[in-house]
């Protein structure tokens, strides 16, 4: 028998850098996309989630105006994404490690309680039907829209973030609190403490901020670039003034939650807020890198990506992701056709990481070999 170690060398499929890049794009898309609903995965366990999904579907389809036998039931995603289809065409996508309770599910009113994790809601407008999503003290009233609610545990409570993709929702930070309208592209968040008694809305409302995804100045407690910025017309001024400034960790976690929920714009907003408010924080380098990656891959903003990636390289010169930031910077400059900067950055990369994981790809960038 010939040496098996050598035999494998004669059966190989040599992928080009381009093919590898294309394959990675497919993998990245699939990782970011909803997990397919596969019968094979769902059938063996006949899991609670599936039973409840069917129950919710049937219930809404029947449009009965009486309390559902499934009211109070829990849908827990476990380690998977779980997609719940309502009979009216609405969809709820639970991220892994998330839990939603069906508080009420009638033809006139749907009330869900996000107890843990993150869920994306794509709600069909049904005349005469109200749709509420609650998480802690925060309640979101839905008319017909697509949005994500995430809850992130904090040391002394939790932060609930609402990111709206389409339409408008109204969020209340607590019982009796003034509702805040959140429009498409905006992200709103509220910090809830673990105090037994909920604070009075006018005095101790949780930190509340509305953060448009666009880079215009935003009067947000989360993402406001300047303390002098005027309060949002959608938001009570007292909230903006009294809201405590979110910490770097809170912003970082909010960004990660949004990113993992597939909300790239919401994530970018939180990363930008972190960089503005906490530029010297230890997370700033990673936040800048992740912001650059989001702008480059998902938001189509290559110039913005260059700025963020340069910050990443500067903010964390000895970090593990410096190599990746430099490699991406080379790609970004190549995309923009900025040959001089591309070549300069390419030299910096190859000088620092001659055997780096991106060396082959970097060498082929900027048009000609170095």
């Amino acid at each position: 028998m010939t040496d098996g170690q050598k035999l494998s060398a004669y059966v190989s499929r040599d992928l080009t850098e381009r093919e590898l890049g294309e394959q990675w794009s497919h993998i990245e898309e699939r990782l970011a996309a909803k997990q397919p609903r596969r019968a094979a995965r769902l059938v063996p366990g006949l899991s609670l989630a599936v039973v409840l999904t069917a129950a919710v579907v049937l219930f809404v389809q029947h449009r009965r105006a009486v309390p559902s036998a499934w009211d109070g039931a829990l849908v827990d995603s476990g380690a998977d994404h779980v997609s719940v289809a309502l009979g009216d065409g609405s969809h709820i996508e639970l991220m892994p490690a998330s839990r939603v309770a069906v508080v009420e599910g009638s033809a006139r009113s749907v009330r869900l309680d996000l107890r843990k994790g993150s869920a994306h809601f794509d709600v069909t407008h049904v005349p005469g039907r109200t749709f509420f999503v609650k998480s802690g003290n925060v309640t979101v009233r839905v008319v017909g829209t697509r949005f994500t609610v995430s809850t992130v545990p904090l040391p002394d409570g939790s932060r609930v973030t609402v990111a709206v993709d389409e339409g408008v929702v109204e969020a209340e930070s607590g019982p009796g609190a003034e509702p805040t309208r959140i429009r498409a592209g905006e992200t709103w968040s509220a910090v809830q403490t673990t105090d037994a008694t909920p604070p009075a809305p006018s005095v101790a409302a949780p930190s509340v901020g509305v953060a448009p995804a666009t880079p215009e100045p935003v009067p947000s407690a989360v993402a406001a670039p300047s303390p002098a910025a005027p309060p949002s017309p959608q938001q009570p001024a007292e909230h903006a003034v009294k809201a405590p400034e979110p910490t770097a960790q809170e912003l970082f976690e909010a960004a990660n939650a949004a990113r993992q929920a597939g909300d790239a714009r919401g994530a970018a907003t939180s990363y930008e807020a972190l960089l503005r408010r906490h530029p010297t924080d230890a997370r700033a380098g990673l936040a800048a890198f992740e912001l650059g990656r989001l702008k480059m891959d998902q938001l189509g903003d290559t110039r913005g990506a260059v700025s963020a990636l340069k910050s990443a390289v500067t903010a964390a010169p000895s970090s593990a992701f410096r190599e990746d930031a430099l490699a991406r910077l080379v790609r970004a400059y190549a995309t923009l056709g900025n040959v001089e900067s591309c070549e300069r950055t390419r030299s910096a990369y190859l000088g620092s990481y001659p055997g780096g994981v991106h060396a082959a790809a970097v060498q082929k960038s900027c048009g000609a070999a170095p």
């Binding site: 098996g4 170690q5 990675w24």
Partner: protein, 193 residues
Amino acid sequence: MAVRAALTQSGAGPSDAALVVSAAAGESWAQEALYRRYGRMVNGLAYRLMPNSADSTDLAQDVFIEAFRNLQGLKNHQAFASWLRSIVIRIAHKRVRRQRLMARLGLRRPEAVDLDTVVSRNAPPDARAELRAVYGVLEELSSEDRTALVLRRVEGMAIGEIAEHMGRSVATVKRRLASAEAHLSRRLGGFDD
């Protein structure tokens, strides 16, 4: 930061352990770095187990998807490469089994391996003969025999290593290999080890 502590001294970028920690936290840059590091290895093994380029490309994608979705379960972060190989082998085995079932049900036409394409022209004559023999009988073997034979003959893995990757006992792997080798010998009229 854990990532910083786990940097290699070689300048070749973060260690597997560091990348796994970040990738498990959902950091896509770390996932991409792991893919760039092991993409060729995974595609190569996938191709040798399922020597049809379309099948192996799909397989490689599925391997990375499964790996990144289950990174939390990897206890020894530095063993990422070996773990990845196990995923390739397990998914390939399942796919071959499914393809066989679909073929039996008449839902899929069995595809013969194109030996001239699969075996490199640069292979020396003895290696070429052996590879042609192995890949010539693959479709006639059970999925377990087939996987064990490729891992042994082509990958050159030790029996214990094959057992670990296939999730079978050493005794089972020995039986599978004996069965595959016997078939190979019968087919070739005495092809000798």
